[in-house]
Symmetry: C2
């Protein structure tokens, strides 16, 4: 055990300095250029580490990528569940309104942007892209494994918040909200261009408010006749 050269991590593992540096750099480059377009040589050079360091610390490029994702995904989903519980406590009957439920889901992901000026956007972009990435099954497992509990808990809360909406329609609409969120995360910058600067992305809280208002109204739509 090298107890002093390594710093503890959430899951009890240890992380050396170069290890976390590799994670940081890889995250940034994956986000900017895409995963395939980012070589290990680019990562290690930027991180000031040796080419072999990635394989030493992570085993493979793919494993590095999975760890990059997992490092962000866990905390976001944990925060989502925490905020949902918080909203339940504040609600009189334990059933928070649609806006609170949706905000608990959306805010933790969209707050990625505000953590750091430019890097945050890139990270958010990367996470948003995961939803439609045709990558190996192992990533999908990781992604949806982490997501499963969140999905079930929020689906349940949404049902209580919108009791008139049919069960399958709840899931459909939740899916639409996730899509709008992922799009905002991964392609939000084009909104700035397309609107000639009219739409400002800097005010994260305002963005969340807009998406919450839009989504809540969508959830309150009457059931479509076919369902």
């Amino acid at each position: 055990m090298t107890a002093f050269s390594r710093t503890p991590t959430a899951d009890g593992e240890q992380a050396s300095a170069t290890r976390t540096r590799l994670l940081d750099v890889a995250e940034q480059l994956f986000a900017e250029r895409g995963i395939d377009a980012t070589s290990l040589r680019a990562i290690t050079a930027t991180a000031g580490a040796n080419l072999a360091s990635v394989n030493y610390h992570f085993g493979s490029k793919d494993a590095l990528f999975r760890e990059v994702v997992a490092r962000r995904l866990g905390p976001i989903n944990a925060e989502r569940l925490r905020l949902l519980e918080e909203a339940k406590c504040q609600a009189a009957d334990g059933n928070p309104p649609l806006e609170s439920v949706l905000s608990a889901f959306l805010a933790p992901a969209l707050h990625l942007q505000s953590q750091r000026p430019q890097e945050g956007k890139n990270i958010m972009n990367l996470m948003g892209r995961l939803y439609s990435d045709p990558r190996a099954d192992e990533l999908k497992k990781l992604f949806y494994g982490e997501f499963k509990e969140v999905f079930q808990r929020f689906t349940s809360a949404l049902k209580h918040a919108a009791p008139d909406v049919a069960d399958d329609e709840i899931i459909w609409r939740f899916f639409f909200v996730v899509g709008a969120m992922a799009h905002l995360m991964s392609a939000g910058d084009v909104l700035n261009h397309a609107s000639n600067g009219l739409c400002d992305l800097e005010d994260v809280e305002a963005n969340i408010g807009r998406l919450v208002a839009f989504s809540a109204a969508g959830f309150r739509a009457p059931n479509s006749p076919t369902s």
Copy 2:
């Protein structure tokens, strides 16, 4: 001119048999595995063509990809504009309701799925991913060049259909709709898994109806206080 061995195309160019075969196969493999993960060798082998055929007919892999995209994008956007005009004619004052405008935008893209059983889904998946693909600028130009007129015309129609919504809010909400659509296109299959089969993706018209109803209700939300 080899007038008989080539069949005419919309833009006046000619297309040999292997050329279109390469386009079809490339589209399918790009969609299934991702663009970088699809080699020219895989494409040409599946198409029963020689490895050099892609560079002969298209010049490069990148040019092939651009042509794969352009071949689908043009007709979809043309159909969007056509349906919008049709809706305007049917409206009494030339201002069709939100539902008609949104349906004109969403239906042509989502109908990709119904053209062919499995391939349609893959193509839709590929198109949905374009929005957040960090690929070369040339692709972005192509994509948003084709999209520009559609964006402006639909933004205008949405303003008339939702006169109480602020100008920037119109664009924001249009953006959310695009996100929900792209997500449905690129990740719709996970909806089937997540809902344990409760949500059925086969009925395309029903899917369009659901997304239109959700989006229209979202558009009718009151302006958020910050805007």
